[in-house]
């Protein structure tokens, strides 16, 4: 164990001191910043939309009547007529036929309630900017109404705060913001796991080939067991990957907090970036950042488990492949059958997004070669039964132990073999050597 530690230390320090590591560590958060920048910019320069917002002049009009013309809509009051339910149904029918009309359904005044729900009905799916503008104006209206009617000061009002949930309903399928964020976080995690395994597995293989080409490996294995060398290297690279990830996280947070005030400032001064035909909606940009905060980050707890499991599984096989050859070109024959199952889950994603708890998703998230890329995605997308997660982790752990065992056997023979490239048949024979 002691010797694994010595090898671990050298390999780890050797990697994190490399220019390529530092470059990647600092460039990715900058990329993240650029991405937010682009998103914010694209949100800032959205084209103005033009809806008629239908509001019924019933008893709730004391609140809703306070909503005035917005950037994306104008208010069209409707006289209250006859039965409330009949009128609501006829309005629902009406907006289904008229694409440019939106009906705000606000059922009561909610004077004392903390959770207020209202619904926007439309024929087509509404954009977030329209939904948010209505939400903002409605929120303002409720606050004003409460202040005026109850006579409480604004200060007190903050204490009796409320949550407004403005839902949208249309003829089309709705994806709530939280669903989109869940997908982004789940798929993001899975893809990062895929990338880290592919990149660091490749680095591990390259390191093994280098030690063999340098002819230093026989010197080392006369002092330590080949298994200790393999483990030291694998653990070191796994730690480097996690170090990089933590640094990415921290730096991204720094970038985020640096960018926040700029985004907010843009909202205060709308005249600054006025362009013909385009309208500024800076609060839209703010909302994107707020959405990031609100996403379901629980999946991150599973990240280390699935990353490490996948890395040991694929990394050990890549190391075994590297040990069998003298140079990186010869390695290709062996890496293709390894990288294929690593990439395959990327092609399963459409199916899994469609039905994250279906049979296909369930089966593939238990196959150890796929689970590191699929299970985090499913966890991000919604509720996976706990036993499925436990089972997939157990299968993954057992499989990577098996892979490490087989790889170590190939590795200890491979590193001492020079000359012609071995066939798969020969490599199978190595498994029997002592």
């Amino acid at each position: 164990m002691d010797k694994i530690g010595i090898i671990f230390k050298r390999e780890y320090l050797n990697m994190v001191r490399k220019k390529s590591f530092l470059l990647a560590t600092f460039l990715v958060p900058l990329g993240f910043a650029a991405l937010i920048g682009i998103q914010v910019a694209s949100a800032v320069f959205v084209e103005k939309e033009n809806y008629d917002l239908l509001i019924v002049e019933d008893e709730t009009y004391a609140v809703t009547g306070r909503i005035n013309k917005g950037d994306n809509f104008k208010v069209v009051p409707i006289k209250a007529e006859g039965d409330f339910v009949t009128q609501r149904d006829s309005l629902l029918e009406r907006v289904k036929k008229n694409e440019n009309e939106v009906y705000l359904y606000y059922p009561e005044t909610y004077l004392e309630k903390e959770n207020i729900t209202a619904t926007l009905h439309s024929s087509k799916k509404l954009s977030q900017q329209v939904r948010r503008e209505v939400e903002r104006k409605l929120e303002r209206a409720i606050k004003d109404y409460k202040t005026e009617l109850v006579g409480i000061s604004k200060e007190q009002l903050d204490k009796t705060d409320f949550e407004l949930d403005l839902q949208t309903k249309s003829g089309e399928k709705e994806n709530s913001t939280s669903e989109i964020m869940a997908l982004a976080v789940g798929a993001g995690t899975a893809i990062i796991i895929y990338m880290l395994i592919a990149i660091y597995g490749g680095i591990l293989m390259q390191g093994v080939i280098e030690e063999k080409a340098n002819r230093i490996v026989e010197v080392i294995v006369s002092s330590v067991r080949p298994f200790q060398l393999l483990m030291g290297k694998t653990l070191a690279l796994a730690s480097v990957a996690i170090t990089q990830l933590i640094l990415w996280g921290l730096l991204s947070m720094v970038v985020y907090f640096i960018m926040l005030p700029f985004v907010a400032n843009a909202g205060i001064d709308p005249a600054a970036i006025q362009q013909p035909g385009m309208e500024m909606s800076a609060s839209e940009a703010e909302n994107i950042l707020i959405d990031l905060q609100g996403a379901n980050w629980n999946v991150l707890w599973f990240f280390p488990i699935y990353f490490l499991g996948g890395f040991f599984l694929y990394g050990s096989l890549m190391a075994a492949a590297g040990s069998a050859v003298d140079n990186i070109q010869d390695a290709q024959q062996f890496t293709i059958p390894i990288t294929l199952p690593l990439m395959l889950p990327l092609f399963f994603y459409p199916n899994i997004i469609q039905n994250p708890n279906g049979m296909f998703a369930s089966i593939t998230s238990h196959i150890p070669f796929f689970s590191p890329m699929i299970m985090p995605m499913r966890i991000g997308l919604g509720s996976v039964p706990w036993w499925e997660i436990v089972l997939s982790i157990i299968i993954l752990v057992l499989s990577f132990l098996g892979c490490v065992w087989i790889s170590a056997k190939i590795y200890r023979t491979g590193i001492l073999m020079y000359g012609k490239k071995p066939s798969f048949k020969e490599i199978f024979k190595w498994l029997r050597y002592n």
Binding site: I216, S222, S223, M417, N434
Partner: protein, 311 residues
Amino acid sequence: MNETFLRIDNVSKAYDDYLAVNQVSLNIPKGKIYGLLGPNGAGKTSTIRMITRITVPDSGTIYFNGEELAEKHSRDTGYMPEERGLYKKMKVLEQITYLLSLKGLPTSEAKAAGEEWLERLGLTDWSSNKVTDLSKGMQQKVQFISTIAHKPRLLILDEPFSGLDPVNTKLIEKEIFRLKDEGTTIIFSTHRMEQVEELCDYIALMSQGKLMLENEITQVRKDFQKQVYHISFHGDKQHLMAVPGLQVLEVTDKQAKVELSGGEGDRNDLLRRLADSPLEILSFALHLPRLNEIFIELVGGNKNLNRKETV
């Protein structure tokens, strides 16, 4: 025979159907230089890899100073493989320290030992340079330092002089003798006979996985002594051919190498017969066999020299 430091007892090792080492027993005496000889594919490297615990024997046992070979003996072993190298981008002292600490030396001791040896071999100024900055000769010195700086009791050198220039060869030779004087047991594997004659006290000869002979080098020479003589002469070489009881092995106009057919007692008889011939004999000397000849005699010429070395 001297006290045995490393004993290899009836060891075999097979790869697939290929028997690399076939029931070999060796007794390597303490504080001596022991030459392990043989053509490529004789099983030298396979034997050494079992001594360094890189592989384990299929059968048989290896005893290190009386104890069965185990993990802890790696601390007392220094091994310079034929296929050797260093991390190209690592600094010299860092590299030596790392390799020594893998042997089980505490980092501070490893560093001190490395510094001491760099000083001795005149490389102190290069301590914090990367290995790639060094000349080939300097790299080989660094390699040698990382093999011996932890004061191993058993030192195994597989073709240590391959790729060394004459200056460094002399330098390393000097250090090898010094280590021997300090009591280090040294196994020296090579197929270059002139180096063996210069360095070794004992030799073992392997061929096709089997041990052909093992003995003190002086004894080996005696054992293979034959009735072969060098003669230099004046006169027609045809007269030499006519001398009875004599087989001419090689002949030029002035010199010949001849073998006496018959026993030792006939040497004076041969001299007499030569004196009787019309030739003027200038010198007459016993031929001492070179190891190379013994080697070829035992392994049967070149027919197996090209066998591919596996593992």
